[in-house]
Every structure is written in structure tokens, then in C-alpha cells.
């Protein structure tokens, strides 16, 4: 899930300076779970905007704002309300914002900051476990990702800042390499300590990322769903 936090009201206030009429868009997926762009937050945004003398021409919660074609289709249903708005205020992650900016000439404003792809510990508590590096080493590191969990993303063991098994950057957090080492010991495996890990191939992460599945794979999936 994409973890995001709302932009400060002060920042939004400055952003909305020349906007008198706004259309609001939230997202029913990650942004709802993160409490930044669900029904409650869109409603609260509307109240705040109206209290500050602005007009909200309408609002919409997309099921998944990251779905480009669906967002375009949904937006077409609200054409009049969109036309009346000076700008669209999007309470969804950066990916969602861009699905929308892709299908309208209107000014599109992001109301949240996207932070990371996160796991959910419990409601309201999110943790980054995977950095989407494109070159997974988990099979050798006992299922703990050093690219993400080590503050420096080191691949060959801990740095000199490890103290009593804790990380130098946040001393109350376990050093990822201590966790990897302890788990490998329990499994009686050498894992990543058996070899010198080569530098990462960052060419797999050249931006922007893009993946197109072969037609046959896509069609096969559709068959099964039918």
C-alpha cells in the first residue's frame, strides 16, 4: 500500500490562494486506509474549504485513483461540476494525482505527500519493508530486506555504527544486519555471509518504471475471470 500523509493546512492555504471553486477527489484504496483521502477526509476538506469562503462544486471517491482509464471514465460523469471548478484538489497519493492530471486540462492540486510502500502493522501503523529496488536479495537475507531496513542500504553486512545490535541512525531500532545474522544463525545458514554481494544493478530502476505484460498473459487472465 502507498503510505501518505496530508500536507499541512498552511501549505494548502497558500496553494489555494487563487482558487475560489474546487472539485474534490479522494481514493477508496490506500488513501482511505491511511486516513488522508477517504470519505471522512474528503468531507472534512469540504467543510474546511467552505468555512474559508470557497465553493466546492462536487466530490468523488475513486475506487483506485491509480487506475488511469477508470479515473478518466469516472471524471467524465462529473463533467459539469468539474467545469465549474477553478481546480481539482486530490486527496490521494502522487500516482493517483497523476491519473487525474492525465485526463483533464484543469489545474490539479495534490493535498497529500506520498511517503513509501508500506506494510500495515495494525490500523494507523505503517512500516516500510520493501523499496521496490528491482533486484531482490531476500532469499539470502533470511527474508529481511537490507536495502530497506538498513539505513544505508548496505549489502555486505553492518556498518561501523552498529552498537549492541542497534542502528546508529535510530538507536532504538535493531540494526537490520543483526536481525539478518540472528535469523540466519537460527536457520543454520550462511546466506548472504557466504559471498561478496556485487553492487546493485540500478539500471532496473531507471525512471519512469514501466511494465507491459504480453497480450497472451493478459488474455489468459481474462479467460479465467470470466
Amino acid at each position: 500500500m502507498i503510505i501518505s500523509t496530508p500536507k499541512a493546512r498552511q501549505e494548502l492555504e497558500a496553494l489555494l490562494q487563487d482558487c475560489r471553486t474546487l472539485f474534490l477527489i479522494g481514493c477508496g484504496s490506500c488513501a482511505t486506509a491511511c486516513k488522508v483521502g477517504g470519505e471522512d477526509e474528503v468531507f472534512a476538506a469540504q467543510e474546511w474549504l467552505e468555512a474559508s469562503g470557497r465553493e466546492v462544486t462536487g466530490s468523488l471517491i475513486l475506487d483506485e485513483a491509480c487506475h488511469i482509464m477508470r479515473a478518466a471514465r469516472e471524471l467524465r460523469r462529473f463533467r459539469e461540476q468539474l467545469d465549474e471548478a477553478d481546480a481539482l484538489l486530490i486527496l490521494a497519493c502522487g500516482a493517483g494525482v497523476q491519473s487525474i492530471s492525465d485526463c483533464t486540462e484543469k489545474r490539479v492540486l495534490a493535498a497529500v505527500n506520498s511517503l513509501f510502500v508500506g506494510n500495515i502493522r495494525r490500523f494507523g501503523q505503517y512500516e516500510e519493508k520493501c523499496s521496490l529496488c528491482g533486484d531482490c536479495i531476500l532469499n539470502e537475507t533470511a527474508g529481511i530486506c537490507p536495502v530497506t531496513n538498513c539505513s544505508k542500504g548496505l549489502l555486505n553486512g553492518p556498518c561501523g555504527g552498529m552498537e549492541d545490535g542497534c542502528c546508529e541512525v535510530e538507536t532504538d531500532r535493531d540494526c537490520a544486519w543483526t536481525s539478518i545474522y540472528q535469523r540466519l544463525e537460527k536457520q543454520q545458514r550462511q546466506g548472504v555471509f557466504d559471498r561478496v554481494v556485487a553492487p546493485k544493478d540500478w539500471s532496473r530502476k531507471f525512471k519512469p518504471g514501466k511494465l507491459s505484460l504480453e497480450r497472451s498473459i493478459v488474455d489468459n487472465g481474462r479467460e479465467k475471470h470470466r
Binding site: S151, G161, M162, D164, T178
Partner: protein
Amino acid sequence: MSRLADKLARRQFVFTAEIAPAKGVDVSAALQKAEQLQTLDAINITDNQGACMRMSPLALARLLVEQGYEPILQLTCRDRNRMALQSDLLGAAALGIENLLLLTGDHPRFGDHAAARPVFDLDSVQLLQAAQGLIAGRDMAGKKLVTAPSFFCGAAVAPAAQPQALVLKKFSKKVTCGAGFFQTQAVFQRRHLETFMAAAASSQVPVILGVLLLKSVKMAQFLNQNIPGVQVPQDLLQRLDEAADPLLEGVRIAREMVSWARQYCQGVHLMTFGHEELIPQILAH
């Protein structure tokens, strides 16, 4: 072969210390300090130490070479990707710098540019490997160099860090990747050094022990709270606290560490923080 490499190869005990480049362009203070350290075998030039931005160590290292000193150029993975690291290494060789200390580097959050993007494209093990590649005439892309550099590559280790077994695993990787010597983080407990050296000695790679001059109990507490990998134990804190002259007590403590080094290691790396005049006292038998 550098003088440092030669001495270590002949199993002689060596002495090193370090200079941080200026925050600015005036090198006179650094050169003055080098003069104070001229009896030592080599002088480390730190690389944006503590993640605080300063003059390039490459520039200062070259100036030291011109004055007849022998620098150990420190190079960290924090601020440069693999291209910049390799190109700085080739530049260092062209400038007559042979000794290297290849490090991961402190995280930017400790420094004066906390918003900087940490690079860490390579780690210290991979940087050692890259340097070995250059020496062998190939860059990391496998391209042949017109002329290959010659380096004496060192690496760092923190013998007191726990779990020590894990520290030793990384130490072994550095040995595999061509570390020709090690300089250690300060070690304040003899048993840490003993157990570490018992395991590390078989590698046959010279270990130079980091010896840090504790100037006061306040400084020791500051180190404990702010410097990753440095832990001054309670008994030393007490000695400093109760001493009539804490600096003198610090010199005594440092002298004990030098004696451990003479027993277990092949040199000392002195960190005296502006008290270079005390080095003869620290090294006195």
C-alpha cells in the same frame, strides 16, 4: 610501494593520526598540524567527517604529498556513486596518493547537511573490490584502463561493536576484497580487543588500533551519546571524573591502549583532538 605499506610488510609497528580538511579554503592550519605529526608514518585525511561538509580530502592529501608527508586518503560511499568513486580514485593515483582508507561513511543525519540524499551506491566491501579492479587495470564496467593505478587499500573495523561475530563476518569480506591493512574504531575494553584479535589474527592483515585521547568525562559522555561505534565504559568514566587532572588521566588511559596495541596489533592510530603535543607522552613506554 608506499612507506606505510613497506613498514607494515616488514612487520614494523606504525603510527598514524588524522587531519580534517578545513571548512573553507585556507589550508594553513591543516599543514601546521601535519608538521606537528611529521614523526608519524602516515596521516589520514578525513572525508566530510561526521557527514559535515568540508574541503575535498583529495585536495588536502595532494598538498601533503607536495610537502613530503604520506597521506592516507579516506574515501566514503556516502557522497559519491560508483562512477565518482572510481574517478576520484584514478585522480588520487595521478596526484601521487597511494594509501587509501575505504569506508561506508556516517549517515547524513549526523551532519550539517541532514537533508542531503545519502548515496551508498556501493558499500565499503564493494568499494574495496572496485579499487582492486582498478589496480588490476579494469573499471567496474569491465573496461580496460589505459594505465592502472597502484594503491595500498585499507579498511575500517569496530572491534568493540556487538555482536562481534557479525563484525568479524564483515571483516572477512573486507579481507577477501583486498584490504591490506585495518584501522580500528577506538577500543576501550581490553577483552574486546583480545577476542577480536584472536579471531582476526589468522587473516595476517595488519591491524592498526584506534587510540582516542579522552580529555574529560564530559567529552567521554559526549562520545557515548553522539559518536556511533564508540562506547567509553563506566570504569573509565569514573577514572576521568575522579582525576585531579582529567587530561593527564586521559593520557594515561591512552598509554594503556598503546600498550595493548603493542601486544596485539601492528600500530596505533591516534585521535588527539587538538592535543597533538601530547603524542610523545602517549607513546612513551
